[in-house]
Symmetry: C2
């Protein structure tokens, strides 16, 4: 396996790869244009030489760095690299790379190519990417697995992607509670290799149920004659395969775990989850919040084809467009008022814009707190009161400022009072909506971030115009 | 140390705590109101009994769960709990709790109380929270440390918060490369306890420089007679204390590390960083992005006092307000145009609103990609072309829809064409700004998320109004 390397070294190799790819492009174009066969031959030789150099550079990369290199290259270059490495390390790269890039790589291959790429993967690996493999190909891959591997695939694939059962691996080491440290050390030495992130071995009792765990440290540091049951840790954090992956990741963070057992209802150990899976999950989930809040599917590939990116963004833009239509009709109701005082048209976006931003601040805070499990039935009311109070405080200050601005411009005392009052009401409303949108989404079992920014501005725009123009209609003319 | 527990068990305890706190509140009020001394005595007894029960419940909690419980309680309840636990476990809680809650807890104590709470902490712990401790108190804490501990504090505190040097710990185990596995095992057994997340011991050569590492696994599984230098891993991922914590966290994620050595320029090992610190860093950094994008300081406590929360949000709202003033003046330029056709006032927010959302989608995507190091000098142009193309595609489709909407409402073919064209131009502009804002912030060494949403809508609002009303002035009247 290729070793990890420093960031600097990695950047050098990526630069070298990029230069080779550029040269390659030039040569390919030349071959295409060359009329004479002799010239073509020369260029082909150059071409092949570049390929060999490229292969050599790529050989040096750790699988994670190879995946990263593929991710940051534009589609055409991605394919060049993919074609060089796919039959040697393609399977591992597919495991490591982001969902959207994996899907695009898989879509470029026919069935035979894909089968060849996937052949080194076992049941545990396949679970991880099964959603992206065409059904026929997946079936053929499964046929090549051992019986146990196939069984593992079916059991773990039956869990949803956000369940512990989907994240767990079958690689673990288990001993009996009556074995001594010396026996366990002896047995460990006969194993070919321990799985990664194996900070502890699990201990089962005579009925085969999980009884505790021994850290490698305790095996190293304890008296060899002592029995496992005497020194094992009994208070283990353990999970059920139906537990939420988000809850498990919180437990890993909170208790600083490296690995934890997964048990079934009877208490029999059926798998293990490790900190690397959990870290990927946290990274995915928290960046997803930011993207879904703006109305994007979580995992957009920065180099996805234009039409697929446009489609990904389209849904929420359409919703946004219709909400803007409604806001526009709200203004339409007051066309008579605006005709009488066109300054209203110039001032109204101020109310809507500050309202939108206020609401967005509250929404971002609530999504964060929901993700971290900090909002409970007990403290919701306290939170509502607090956010409303902030809305009032900021509404008073910003209302005063906007009133002064309006008065300075139009020397109309009534107009200034109306916009100041509208600002106060709008900010209180925005705080309330900013709080409610993620909480309601959560209540209906949706992702609290889902398009929340779009839903929020839909409300704050329409209501902001309604408050301001409504107050103006009532108080300015008559 | 209290053991970790299941989410369910934790929730039960928190509920019990909350009930006791509520009862306590009632009793306290009664004591306050009771006129007779005898009644007061009875209530005091009840009060003390509740306190004892509360203490008992809190005793059961792991330090991480105790911190969580404090975080999710409103301020008054937080203080009740803090006063019960501060002299037993306050120091550890301060290490574990979020920055903003730590600051608020510290601010409630006088110097003596704080010194007593901090007394169990060592130099490594103090580095972590030193920023939040008043200067005088910190000096007195340091005086009580051993010489080595004090030196460690000064060296690691000299690094910025986002440097590896700040995150590293001095707890590690080091052996020499000529020692045999048997000798190392023997020595390990004499140690009182290994530090947490100690998946490997470090090996130094005869000059005292880092030569490699032995995983606990390899110690357990190797021939006892072999020398460390023969089986140690030499290709280690190592960091310098000046390395960026973000880069280090990427390396931990990419190479699935549990711990890694920190070395100085000579190659001498000076510390160790572990996956739990890195996980906290990732969680902090990615949720921060969402908050700072909306214009909030990263770590707002959900129960911060109203005025301090209002202040936290105020800066960006003021910037927002001034940008809205500018947008308002842009509209003001066209008051004559609007007076002639008031429908323009009703339609103009549609252009600005969809423009703002389009830009926000791009910004969220770019921030994510910057955080993950996916944007390089090589692929920037490709990215610009791609985002502009998406702007064009979505601009054409949404422009057509908005044109139809306007035509349906006002039966004015020219007006419909003007708004369709404005929408197309606005979305292309919004894509460009959405891309530029985080990239420019990054270029000037600012957090790319910093208020980006506010800056973005400032641009898309003003320019959206300018494009739409400008086109209308030129093409609709004359």
């Amino acid at each position: 396996m290729q070793a990890p390397m420093s960031q600097q070294k990695l950047e050098e190799i990526i630069k070298a790869v990029k230069t080779l790819l550029d040269k390659q492009k030039v040569v390919e174009e030349l071959i295409h244009k060359q009329p004479s066969a002799q010239h073509q031959l020369v260029e082909s030789l150059v071409h092949r030489q570049h390929l060999a150099e490229l292969e050599q550079q790529l050989q040096k990369l750790h699988i994670a760095d190879l995946s990263h290199t593929i991710e940051i290259l534009p589609p055409a270059d991605r394919m060049r690299i993919w074609e060089i490495i796919r039959y040697q390390r393609g399977g591992e790269v597919l495991l490591d790379i982001s969902d959207s890039v994996r899907q695009s790589l898989i879509s470029t291959m026919n069935e035979d190519e894909l089968l060849k790429v996937l052949s080194p993967l076992d049941g545990d690996d396949l679970t991880f990417i099964a959603d992206d493999i065409p059904h026929d190909v997946l079936q053929k891959c499964l046929e090549n697995l051992t019986h146990a591997d196939k069984a593992w695939f079916h059991s773990s694939f039956s869990y949803d992607e956000d369940k512990v059962g989907h994240l767990m691996t079958n690689e673990m080491v288990v001993f009996h509670d009556h074995q001594t440290i010396a026996e366990i050390s002896q047995l460990l030495r006969t194993l070919p290799e321990l799985p990664t992130h194996n900070d502890k071995v699990f201990i089962v009792d005579s009925r085969g149920l999980l009884a505790g765990a021994l850290t490698l440290q305790s095996i190293l540091m304890s008296d060899p004659e002592i029995m496992a049951k005497e020194i094992m840790v009994k208070d283990l954090v353990k999970f059920s395969p139906d537990d939420d992956a988000g809850d498990a990741s919180k437990a890993f963070e909170r208790y600083d775990l490296v690995s934890a057992p997964v048990i079934n209802q009877r208490g029999k150990i059926i798998g293990r989850i490790t900190v690397d899976e959990v870290m990927d999950y946290i990274r995915g989930e928290s960046t997803e919040d930011m993207l879904t809040m703006a109305g994007l599917r979580g995992e957009e590939d920065i180099f996805a084809p234009i039409l697929s990116s446009a489609r990904n963004r389209f849904t929420w833009l359409i919703i946004n467009l219709f909400s803007a239509f409604i806001a526009s009709r709200v203004i339409g109701l007051f066309e008579n008022t605006i005709e009488q005082l066109v300054a209203l048209a110039a001032l109204m976006p101020i109310v809507a814009s500050v309202g939108g931003n206020t609401g967005n601040q509250t929404t971002a805070l609530i999504i964060r707190s929901l993700t971290q499990g900090q909002i409970t039935a007990h403290n919701t009311w306290h939170l509502v009161r607090k956010e409303l109070s902030i809305g009032v405080v900021n509404g008073l200050v910003l209302g005063l400022l906007v009133g002064l601005f309006a008065f300075g411009l139009y020397q109309n005392y009534y107009l200034a009072s109306v916009i100041a009052a509208a600002m106060l009401l709008e900010l209180v409303f925005a705080s309330l909506v900013g709080l409610s949108v993620p909480m309601l989404l959560k209540k209906f079992n949706k992702d609290p971030a889902l398009g929340s920014s779009v839903i929020l501005t839909a409300c704050t725009d329409s209501v902001g115009f309604l408050i301001f123009l409504g107050l103006a209609t009532v108080f300015l003319f008559k």
